[in-house]
């Protein structure tokens, strides 16, 4: 099959959409630079980026990119990614059906007294785990959808939020579908 092209009418839609794109690449030197360089060179956005080997031999990596743009731009991003030599396949998880997307965040909160207690309470509600603690600080580990992590960080702001480290999203299509 030739690569999929969207209906022509959708290309003239000028509204911005977000797209979660997964790319399977040969795990060779410079492949991430190629992908990132393509985005910066052509003026595309990267909202989130993750990359790691995903097969037993470490020969293939999966890059998950969250980007945004008009339909025409997103189609162009996919086409540009697809023609990179070490790219095996490109999937637009947003367009091609339901998918799950999760990220991991480590959130450091510094504080004592009532704020510390409240931080713990909120963490419980979010099912965040405490992975490090001192008498004056917590490091919470939280996984979930991006908006859940955003909400948690927002709540922690008044409770002594000191530092955040986020993984960026990992994503898979729902059901039996694989890329």
């Amino acid at each position: 099959m030739q690569s999929w092209f969207p209906p022509m009418a959708s290309l003239s839609d000028t509204t911005q959409r977000s797209a979660t794109i997964s790319v399977l690449v040969d795990n060779e030197a410079g492949v991430l630079a190629r992908v990132i360089g393509l985005f910066s060179g052509r003026g595309y956005n990267i909202d989130s980026l993750t990359v790691a080997p995903v097969d037993a031999g470490g020969r293939r990596s999966r890059i998950n990119i969250v980007t945004s743009g008009t339909s025409m731009v997103i189609e162009q991003i996919k086409a540009q990614l697809d023609r990179l030599v070490p790219v095996h396949c490109v999937a637009d998880l947003t367009m091609e059906g339901p998918h799950v997307a999760r990220e991991l965040a480590l959130v450091k909160v510094i504080g004592v007294g009532e704020k510390r207690v409240e931080a713990m309470r909120v963490a419980d509600t979010f099912r965040a785990r405490v992975v490090d603690t001192t008498l004056g600080s917590f490091v919470f580990e939280l996984t979930g959808a991006t908006d859940k992590i955003d909400a948690f960080i927002e709540l922690m702001r008044d409770l002594g939020l000191a530092e955040v480290s986020r993984s960026g999203i990992a994503a898979l299509a729902r059901g039996t579908r694989v890329i």
Binding site: Q2, F5, G30, A33, A79, V85
Partner: protein
């Protein structure tokens, strides 16, 4: 146990090149590639052409590649050798020319150490190439070379860099035979049959069709141009070429409307603007073609055939995208057209051609040459005479150009009947492309006539290659349209910047006749129209390289012109025509 290794990396490299059919390398030696030059010295299968600047090596390889359809091969040293080559690489990338460029590199243990003549070549060339490699293990060397040739020549062609650390080419390495399949890169070349059927249905119903063919047809090989010509004649449809596509359809054919785009003909652009079905093949709807996007051929249904899916829907959304090799798609179109019994709308086509003939009668490429003794030579006339006098000789002729007004005049007034005879820097617009490119063409076609149509400013950008012409006795003819200005920039300054000719006067020009002589070539000059034919004939008769300095009208502008930000139907015609009154908008001013 592996067989004992007997060959060095450099020997393995040359063996791989030979197995890939390489006969010529354009290059320049240096410290990091000494072992490769040593291996070259000890063999006779591959010929090395010593250029005078690494940029010229790549352009020469481009000329070689475009005139033969083969992969051009370049060898340069690390650091400055590689960075000098970058302009050529980007040029090849933009114009889809298959090149394999070998760059030397400091030994692996020194990489990242800011060693002498070290540059991050793979980093620098990553966006300048289709793909690049850094060979870190001797056992990868042969495979990488084979892969590089595959990548450069398959799918949409392009330049590939192989960065070779010095220890890799010194140490012993194993050889692997050329691979057949690449693990991930397998571009689609066959069109989907259902889409071809749809295209034929659209084309059969067309009342105002046009075929818009670009460089992809040339890249698909001479069979593709042959199929394009057959298809156009079979359908009777009008056809226009991009700058890169010239030669894919015979320019003398009455169905040919000339080049389209910014300096395209009136009839080609208005036919694009007014068509109802557009068949785009191997062309990419770039800004020089479309003019203002929102006004580009709004009323048409568009079929776009391209081997590169990312070229489709990039600038202009199309109704029917087909990813395929241009030649294979044209073959399929021919077969499907013949197999279809759907009628064509003959009366509508007749009306369409009548309309096109009205546009054509405007004669948008018209110019007025004063034929009196001492008359100033019009640049268009110089090209026209060059065309007529070379044609009269019936020799196999190849034309290269530099970049600017002379390039557009050459595209407009020199007629190409066959593919691979026209080498010009289209996408990147690289001044200095023409002379080294002509050199590469002459190497590939020693008995042919090769003319670089140049401007006096562009030619100085790679003038050092006159030395290469002398060394290899390459009888390239450099035909300079000398108007003492960077003409195209001057033209834009006249039209868009109140005739303030900021830094575009070619001051302190050399005496080109003496310059030619200094480089062991022949120099000649024409100052007025009565001298022109004699100089052209003398140039064509001359067995050596020639610089012909043709003094042309300094004030001449290149028309027609679609100003930046204007639509196809808002073309500026020359002073021979009514002023159309269309100016440049503020939005257009920011465009280039």
């Amino acid at each position: 146990m592996a067989a004992e290794l007997t060959q060095t990396g450099a020997e393995i490299l040359l063996r791989a090149l030979k197995d890939q059919g390489v006969e010529v390398i354009f290059g320049y030696p240096g410290g990091a590639v000494l072992p490769i030059y040593d291996a070259l010295f000890q063999q006779n299968a591959i010929r090395h052409i010593l250029v005078r600047h690494e940029q010229a090596a790549v352009h020469a390889a481009e000329g070689y590649a475009r005139s033969t359809g083969r992969v051009g091969c370049v060898l340069v040293t690390s650091g400055p050798g590689a960075t000098n080559a970058v302009t050529g690489l980007v040029d090849a990338l933009m114009d889809s020319i298959p090149i394999v460029c070998l760059t030397g590199q400091v030994p692996t243990h020194l990489i990242g150490n800011d060693a002498f003549q070290e540059a991050d070549t793979t980093g620098i060339t990553r966006p300048a190439t289709k793909h690049n490699y850094l060979v870190k293990r001797p056992e990868d060397l042969a495979r990488v070379v084979h892969e590089a040739f595959y990548v450069a020549s398959h799918g949409r062609p392009g330049p590939v860099v192989i960065d070779l650390p010095k220890d890799i080419v010194i140490n012993k390495a194993p050889y692997t035979e050329p691979t057949v399949q690449h693990p991930s890169y397998r571009p689609r070349t066959e069109p989907e049959a259902g889409l071809i059927a749809k295209a034929i249905a659209m084309l059969k119903q067309a009342k105002r069709p046009i075929i818009y063919a670009g460089g992809g047809v040339i890249n698909a090989g001479p069979e593709a141009s042959e199929a394009l010509t057959q298809f156009a004649r079979l359908t009777g449809f009008p056809i226009t070429n991009t700058l890169m596509g010239l030669g894919s359809f015979p320019s003398s054919d009455p169905q040919f409307l000339g080049m389209l785009g910014m300096h395209g003909t009136y009839e080609a652009n208005l036919a694009m603007h007014g068509c109802d079905v557009m068949l785009a093949i191997g062309a990419r709807f770039d800004d020089r073609i479309t003019g203002r996007l929102d006004a580009f051929s709004q009323g048409s249904q568009k079929i776009h055939i391209d081997i590169d899916g990312s070229s489709i829907n990039k600038n202009v959304p199309v109704d029917l995208p087909i990813v395929a090799d241009a030649g294979k798609a044209l073959g399929a179109l021919l077969a499907a057209w013949n197999a279809s019994d759907a009628p064509v709308d003959k009366p509508a086509l007749t009306t369409w051609w009548r309309q096109i003939d009205v546009w054509r009668s405007k004669d948008s490429l018209k110019f007025n040459q004063d034929m009196k003794r001492g008359g100033i030579i019009k640049p268009q006339y110089a090209i026209k005479r060059l065309f007529e006098l070379t044609k009269a000789r019936g020799r196999e002729t190849f034309i290269t150009t530099e970049v600017g007004q002379h390039q557009m005049w050459a595209a407009q007034h020199y007629g190409f009947e066959k593919p691979n005879r026209w080498m010009t820097s289209g996408g990147l617009g690289t001044m200095g492309y023409g002379l080294p490119s002509a050199m590469g063409v002459q190497i590939a076609h020693p008995d042919a006539l090769v003319v670089d149509i140049a401007g006096e400013a562009s030619i100085l950008m790679n003038i050092q290659e006159m030395g290469t012409l002398a060394q290899y006795r390459l009888p390239v003819k450099v035909f300079i349209l000398n108007n003492q200005y960077m003409g195209m920039v001057r033209q834009w300054q006249e039209l868009l910047h109140g005739s303030r000719y900021s830094e575009t006067y070619s001051n302190a020009l050399p005496d080109f006749v003496k310059l030619a002589e200094a480089f062991h070539a022949t120099g000649m000059r024409a100052q007025s129209v009565d001298e022109l034919d004699d100089v052209i004939n003398a140039m064509l008769d001359c067995p050596t390289a020639v610089i012909a300095d043709i003094a042309v009208d300094q004030a001449e502008n290149c028309f027609p012109m679609i100003p930046s930000g204007a639509a196809h139907n808002e073309m500026l015609l020359g002073p021979e025509h009514e002023p159309s009154g269309v100016g440049v908008t503020d939005a257009g001013m920011v465009l280039v």
